[in-house]
């Protein structure tokens, strides 16, 4: 039997049965789109329109449409790229790292978080591809023979490492996500009434039937994928940070970057997961699955990673002083007190002070407070990348080339446009795909619930569910011997 402890909180509240889980998750997939979803999609599509128009301007008139200049050659594009990739990392952390650590609460948020990863990486990929100027030649980043007019790619370059890291990360995340979706597509397929839905979900389900052997392999595959995705997610942001760290630009050339970027990525990613989950649980009535405990736990992860980021900011400053390199020192003094002081101040306020509020239990368990904090952290993490990139570049070694950077409307259009792209994809996902991993949530249904859905006799179809939190011995059917050793 499952180990039952009166200390553990149930992961799913509301005394659900297996069938309730299926019903609750499939409801919005099977229902006609409601007006709120249509309204949200219209807004997202409007911003997607802005994206396409800004991209058209960029491609037709060239990169000159952006606010870049000779000194600041990287600005909003790379800021947004790092911001989006970082957001994606929380999804992999939830789906892979927390799986390895056997954090069972991850089951109900895993699906949506991983969808967020995939959509965030799609948004991120737009920026380097558009910055190429001629995106139709984007395949030149891959090692092709030099009949294309150039040599082999340079395997010593972190920008090339990024190509391999991001494409591996995207494709592995996609496959990991899809493997998890297959059993749930089968559930929808077996419930589908209309011929089109039945065919479509049959195709998507890959012929899944839930046989014991297939489940056994499924679990093995999930575990190995989690095992490879864990170092992968760490490597991706490490390599992203090396885009900067391996250069000789003061303010970028620091060994602290890889761990600092990874912590920052998880920090911002959890903020985005919280923003999305707080909306999703209310819109789709999933409060029993994404409980207040989930929110508190995610807040704790945000606090830890936020504190690591805060320590990293201070360490950077200290090391700049300790290095005795005057250019390094100037880069940091200029960050805090130069013309971009307001960006630095926003970053410090949003990323260092905000997560510390989560120490208060009342804030950690408050939905409005969490929602506001998560938005503030997202803003703060955008400013972090802006500060690192633009303030390090705009005053270089030669004072005669010192400039300021200001974005054009095309820069802003592409950025808010990717938000439109992200929410369009997320809304389509939320309507047509199961937002909660039904199969996995069914495995944790009995966790912390004494006397969960239990067999009640030969003719009893109803599941008997005792109220949660009541430390009673688990009910065992008379016909079954008790000493079954189930490995959990």
């Amino acid at each position: 039997m499952q180990h039952v402890s009166p200390v553990r909180e149930p992961l799913v509240t509301g005394g659900k049965t297996y069938h309730d889980i299926t019903q609750d998750v499939c409801r919005q997939v099977e229902a006609k789109p409601n007006i709120r979803w249509m309204a949200a999609l219209s807004v997202a599509l409007f911003f997607l329109g802005i994206f396409f128009y800004s991209v058209y301007r960029t491609l037709w008139y060239g990169i000159g449409e952006w606010g870049l200049n000779k000194t600041v050659g990287w600005a909003w594009d790379i800021t947004n790229f790092v911001w989006w990739v970082g957001i994606g990392h929380a999804g992999t952390l939830i789906s892979a790292v927390l799986l390895l650590f056997r954090q069972k609460w991850r089951s109900s948020i895993n699906r949506a978080a991983e969808a967020m990863t995939i959509f965030a990486v799609i948004c991120a990929a737009m920026f380097p591809v558009l910055h190429m100027g001629r995106p139709w030649l984007a395949y030149w980043v891959f090692p092709f023979q030099n009949t294309f007019g150039s040599l082999w790619v340079n395997f010593n370059s972190p920008l090339l490492w990024d190509v391999f890291a991001i494409s591996t990360y995207f494709s592995v995340s996609l496959v990991f996500w899809y493997i998890g979706l297959i059993p749930d597509f089968a559930t929808i397929r077996d419930r589908a009434k209309g011929p089109i839905a039945k065919r479509a979900y049959a195709l998507l389900s890959f012929g899944w039937k839930g046989s014991a052997k297939a489940w056994s392999r499924y679990e093995t595959v999930s575990l190995i994928l989690a095992g490879v995705a864990t170092p992968l997610v760490l490597s991706v942001h490490t390599i992203v940070s090396m885009d900067f760290a391996t250069s000789v630009v003061p303010g970028w050339h620091t060994t602290i970057f890889p761990p600092y970027f990874v912590a920052g990525a998880i920090f911002s990613g959890f903020a985005m997961v919280l923003t999305l989950m707080l909306i999703t649980r209310v819109v789709f009535k999933l409060e029993d699955y994404i409980t207040i405990e989930h929110i508190a736990l995610m807040n704790k992860i945000m606090m830890i990673t936020g504190s690591i980021v805060g320590v990293a900011y201070i360490t950077e400053f200290f090391i700049a002083w300790y290095s005795q390199v005057e250019f390094e020192q100037y880069a940091f003094i200029n960050r805090a007190t130069g013309p971009y002081w307001w960006a630095y101040a926003s970053m410090m306020t949003c990323n260092v002070i905000t997560p510390q509020l989560v120490w208060f239990r009342r804030i950690r368990y408050s939905i409005p407070a969490t929602f506001i904090l998560s938005i503030i952290v997202n803003i703060g993490m955008w400013f972090e990348r802006f500060v690192i990139i633009v303030t390090s570049l705009h005053r270089d070694y030669l004072p005669s080339s010192w400039v300021m950077f200001s974005p054009t409307w095309v820069d802003i259009g592409i950025y808010v446009g990717t938000l439109g792209l992200f929410f369009t994809l997320f809304l389509l996902f939320a309507k047509f795909f199961p937002v909660v991993n039904m199969a996995e949530v069914k495995t944790i249904l009995k966790y912390g619930v004494d006397n969960g859905p239990t067999y009640t006799g030969h003719h009893g179809h109803a599941h008997q569910v005792a109220p949660a939190h009541q430390p009673v011995a688990p009910a065992i059917p008379a016909s079954a011997p008790v000493n079954y050793n189930k490995h959990d």
Partner: protein, 175 residues
């Protein structure tokens, strides 16, 4: 070819696990068990061997690593050597990131494609299932019926005794 099955429908995983043990002990061969989620302990109860997919994954990963190292060493070391930042042509530390990523890429995709192939998972328009509730909230045990008139009633009784909430007969056309 059409096969007939007796389907024992169970409501609870623990009852199912005991039933599997008792029914196998009674000398009945279980064709398959369909469940809405992975039931822990069912592999031992059904005598399913541990999957060898991890071994496959390891060799896919090894292939990826070898390929990545060969590619980088061949391209930058032999095919078109270039001096980049005064580094040696074969700068192994700089090859670590791409080698790692290719290892993960080959390992993950190779293993997943193997999983799809051996489990016969591929997109298809129609999926005949034993009982549609097996992907919702029921655990379905399928036992193949040979041509024996009394077999179904005997199995029905056995399944009932072991906690099946209902027993059905199902014909399946198999390739």
């Amino acid at each position: 070819m059409t096969k007939r099955f007796a389907l024992g429908i169970f409501d609870d995983e623990d009852v199912l696990l005991h039933a599997i043990e008792n029914i196998r002990a009674a000398g009945v061969k279980i064709h398959d068990v369909f469940s809405p989620y992975p039931v822990h302990g069912i592999d031992d109860a059904l005598g399913i061997e541990r999957s060898r997919l991890p071994i496959a994954a390891f060799f896919f990963g090894l292939t990826g690593l070898s390929f990545a190292l060969w590619m980088q060493i061949y391209m930058l070391g032999f095919d078109w050597p270039m001096i980049i930042g005064g580094k040696p042509h074969i700068a192994l530390p700089a090859f670590i990131p791409v080698s790692f990523e290719m290892t993960v890429l080959f390992c993950a995709h190779g293993m997943v494609l193997t999983f799809f192939t051996i489990s016969k998972l591929y997109p298809r328009w129609k999926v005949p299932v034993m009982d549609v509730r097996a992907t919702d909230d029921k655990f379905v045990m399928a036992i193949e019926l040979k041509d024996d008139a009394s077999e179904l009633s005997r199995l029905t009784q056995l399944l009932r005794e072991n906690g099946a909430s209902e027993v059905n007969e199902k014909e399946m056309t198999q390739k």
